[in-house]
């Protein structure tokens, strides 16, 4: 995949979108690729809509401007699709991964993508995280779903890098629960 892959994450501050973008970049880099991860910074408080970005490529990435036309969009909080234009800049055949209990077909309709070439994946990441981790922290399961949808980073690579990153802040048992969340999400993501 020499072509530059650009991803935009939509989340609410505190939901872990920035961490997810960073872990994804680390996983890509560990797999021998080139990657960037960066958040968009503004006046933030918990719950405010925020955005983070990734670029992934087989070749060195020199560009440093904002991501304008992401081919992949990840939405960590289902209510955001009403608050923010998650489709901005996305090409017709873009990929959307939404955290929601709704089915892909239902979400496609909500997003106004019926009849387009866009691919829509859904996952109830919030529920999975409550089941596994014990609290609503959708970012880790969403990463599992994302690597399944993208197919450019292996699940095992993601798990390895997630363990490393989360171990700085979380106890081993909690890290393991996050890994479980990722595995479940990988299995359950629907398209």
């Amino acid at each position: 995949m020499a072509k530059l892959l650009e991803i935009r994450w939509h989340g609410r501050a505190g939901q872990g979108a920035k961490t997810a973008a960073l872990v994804l970049a680390e996983a890509a880099i560990s797999a021998g690729k080139y990657a960037q991860a960066f958040p968009e910074y503004g006046p933030e408080r918990m719950g405010a809509p925020m955005v983070a970005y990734n670029r992934i490529s087989d070749e060195p990435i020199l560009i440093h401007s904002h991501v304008e036309q992401p081919s992949v969009v990840v939405v960590l909080d289902p209510t955001l699709i009403y608050a923010v234009n998650v489709k901005a800049g996305v090409p017709d055949d873009g990929i959307y991964l939404i955290n929601t209990p709704l089915s892909p077909a239902e979400m496609r309709e909500r997003l106004g993508l019926v009849g387009t070439d866009a691919k829509v994946y859904t996952l109830d990441a919030t529920q999975i995280s409550i089941d596994t981790i014990g609290r609503p922290m959708p970012n880790t399961p969403m990463m599992g779903a994302l690597v399944k949808a993208l197919g450019v980073i292996s699940l095992e690579q993601l798990i390895e890098d997630t363990k490393i990153k989360l171990s700085y802040k979380l106890r081993p048992e909690v890290v393991e629960k996050n890994v479980e969340a990722i595995r479940r999400a990988y299995q359950e993501v629907a398209s």
């Binding site: 960073l22 970049a25 680390e26 560990s30 960037q36 910074y41 020199l62 440093h64 401007s65 904002h66």
Partner: protein, 394 residues
């Protein structure tokens, strides 16, 4: 050579470089977007990964004062700052240079207030360009890491003994994770070596006085001497780069010439925008446009002769200034580049673009428009205007 491929943000890379350098003293005060550097470093100290005396102070003025005190005592001392933090330490920044103390300070470029802005532009370090500090600009996390390591050797060289500020773009590089290569701890230890301070105040066998009153009968001689040190730093910077290339395989110089040899039009740029501009230049080359780029790494000392030499064959040059000097003429980099070209026969037509102020995103389209302007200027043999504010809403 052994290096380790890692994923780091710019701030993480610089904090790691500092950890590997093992400074005796680090004075710290937080300011966005630099805070993570001193925060991560203090974590390293707390976890016993580095044995540095960490001095938490009440302001940046104190941070630089404490760093100066430590350096004068004979310690390898560092601190880090941005924007108004650099502005607050302004008087002591000049003193650090005039006291000839080899302090290395990462400065994460952020716009000077006001209005209050936390994002990237170069107004902070451009504001310090007459302070007597060596200034190295970094394009990305790798360069920031490499520049901090080289800065220690440059500053501590007995023919230099001047402090160095190493810059990187705020948020764009400081908070963005990228691939980079780090050296092993032991290699860095060998690279920086043992610091042998000149006239350390803690050497009680050989007491000296530093920072005395220096009136009209002596001051000019000392300042002339300080000016000479800046002149002498240029060959040292090149020498250190040569040695660093042997250690890492990464070659640095005063500036980077990108597809410049046979170029007809080119951009002069500093910092992360150079990366984006390289991609644009590549695309234009594919369309047959002879586009090139010159990325300045060493802004102080200003390599006037070398830059003039590199640019003199071009038809048209655009300097990109990520700050305004409010002299009602142009930005600061333009003034120095144009001045360097003065007197050169058939010098290129040169124009200025002030861009990216307060973190305004500079997109590939913007840069392409600059090259398009240059192509027109080259064809017409003249420019319609000296200065363009790129990306501002009119």
């Amino acid at each position: 050579m052994m290096s380790i491929r890692v994923a780091k943000t710019g701030n993480e890379a610089v904090a790691e470089a500092m950890r590997q350098i093992r400074p005796d003293v680090v004075a710290a005060y937080p300011i966005t977007p630099q805070t993570e550097i001193v925060q991560l470093f203090s974590g390293f100290v707390a976890n016993g990964l580095v044995d540095t005396e960490m001095v938490t102070v009440e302001s940046e003025h104190s941070a630089m004062s404490a760093t100066i005190g430590a350096a004068a005592a004979g310690a390898r001392a560092m601190t880090a700052t941005s924007a108004n933090g650099l502005a607050l330490m302004w008087e002591v920044v000049y003193i650090a240079a005039s006291m000839r103390l080899p302090i290395v300070m990462p400065v994460v470029n952020r716009a000077l207030s006001g209005p209050i802005n936390i994002h990237c532009d170069h107004s902070d370090t451009m504001g310090a360009r007459d302070s007597g500090w060596i200034q190295l600009f970094s394009e990305n996390a790798q360069e920031a890491y490499d520049n901090v390591l080289q800065a220690v050797r440059i500053s501590e060289d007995p023919n230099v003994l001047l402090p160095t500020m190493v810059t990187m773009d705020g948020f764009i590089i400081s908070h963005a994770m990228e691939v980079m290569e780090m050296l092993e701890d032991e290699k860095v230890r060998q690279w920086v070596g043992e610091y042998v301070p000149l006239n350390p105040l803690l050497d009680v066998e050989n007491p000296v006085t530093m920072g005395p009153l220096d009136l009209f009968d002596w001051n000019m001689e000392h300042k002339r001497q300080q000016a000479e040190a800046m002149v002498q730093s240029k060959p040292v910077i090149l020498q250190v780069a040569e040695e660093y290339a042997k250690l890492t395989g990464r070659r640095y110089s005063l500036f980077e010439e990108y597809k410049l040899d046979d170029a007809e039009i080119a951009i002069v740029v500093l910092g992360s925008t150079a990366g984006t501009a390289k991609v644009v230049a590549d695309n234009l080359r594919q369309q047959g446009v002879k586009a090139g780029l010159l990325k300045i790494r060493v802004f102080r000392p200003f390599p006037a002769e070398e830059i003039a030499n590199a640019l003199k064959h071009l038809k048209a040059v655009a300097v990109m200034d990520r700050s305004d000097s409010f002299n009602a003429v142009s930005g600061p980099v333009f003034a120095e580049v144009r001045s360097a070209l003065y007197g050169i026969a058939n010098a290129p037509i040169i124009v200025d673009y002030i861009y990216g102020i307060g973190g305004r995103d500079v997109k590939p389209d913007h840069i392409e428009s600059v090259y398009n302007d240059l192509a027109q200027i080259a064809a017409q043999g003249k420019a319609d205007r000296l200065l363009t504010y790129l990306g501002v809403r009119e």
